[in-house]
Amino acid sequence: MAETTLSHVPPQMRPSGLRGVAADWSSDQRAFKNVSWGKAMMWVFLLSDTFVFGCFLIAYMTARMSTVEPWPNASEVFALHLFGRDLPLILIAIMTFVLISSSGTMAMAVNFAYRRDRKRTAILMLLTAVLGATFVGMQAFEWSKLIMEGVRPWGNPWGAAQFGSAFFMITGFHGTHVTIGVIFLLIVARKVARGDYDTDARGFFTSRRGNYESVEIMGLYWHFVDLVWVFIFAFFYLW
């Protein structure tokens, strides 16, 4: 339970800018002066996750650049027949808006958590979870539609075989992240609603006392999932 020593000099009295970077990192204590270990570790985890998704997207780029067969046109592949005409990419656009909305509700949940507004925080987190689950549901619909049309990891009716493997790998991994996020959102929302962070109740898994910062750390993860989707949307669906 030992926290690393926080500096006793308040951060606003420390040097800022580049000089601050050198001073913080060389201070022989903790480098992140006003960030708890939980938050710092979530950031480090997200950084490593960035590399995972970076590798997926680079692998996709390599496959697409080096294939001699035409790459399937995402605009047509992901079109839906709605209102009597084909709307290109419409499902993906709706999924994007759903995920962005969930990010917005999450940001507001974090805000209310710091105001100790239990009810609003819990409701907004539940709303975030519902939007996230909606996103996963739409992704499941998209997967089954493509599988029925004959897309497989080893081939598809429209061109380069790597399209299927890249699609299932990238969106599958992202969907897994969303699913895990929804589960953790529900857990944290339950704790907030029950008042665990006000009564200093111990957690069921680590037996440690939590606090409202858990909501912000949860938020970091959730926004990251949204962030990854921004890149997937641009590189996989629009490119």
Binding site: K33, G38, L47, F51, S66, A93, A107, L220, A234
Partner: protein
């Protein structure tokens, strides 16, 4: 967190700093309006990138618009929603600089895939 502010290692003697330890944690309290504004902007930018596809813009215009909208959205999410704009520079650099190195990897794989494509066209007689 706040409990850690109780640690006063090394300062037990010598300089006295009574109430300076008040608030070391970075609690982020911003008006809700800020989040709503960012939310609206994310909607607008997503709609713009969708319209790039809807109107089937092609060529350099397409790629540059996609990249610009993508970077603007990513920047808004990281800076405002993830509160990066209010963190100390040490954390910002520790998190944001390493992903930039991925660009080197992108460049390496670009060279590699150009070479692969060239060999496929040259030795397998396939035209793109």
């Amino acid at each position: 967190m706040v409990e850690a502010t109780g640690h006063r290692m090394g300062s037990s003697h010598g300089q006295e700093q009574p109430a300076a330890v008040a608030h070391t944690d970075s609690h982020q309290e911003h008006p809700i309006k800020l989040y709503l504004v960012v939310w609206v902007w994310l909607f607008i930018l997503s709609a713009c990138s969708y319209l790039v596809d809807y109107f089937q813009l092609q060529g350099m215009l397409r790629w540059s618009l996609i990249i610009i909208f993508m970077l603007l959205k990513a920047g808004l999410i990281v800076a405002i929603f993830m509160h990066m704009a209010w963190e100390r520079l040490s954390l910002v650099y520790a998190i944001l600089v390493p992903p930039l190195v991925v660009l080197v990897f992108v460049w390496i794989m670009t060279v590699e895939s150009n070479y692969t494509l060239w060999t496929r066209m040259t030795f397998f007689g396939a035209a793109p």
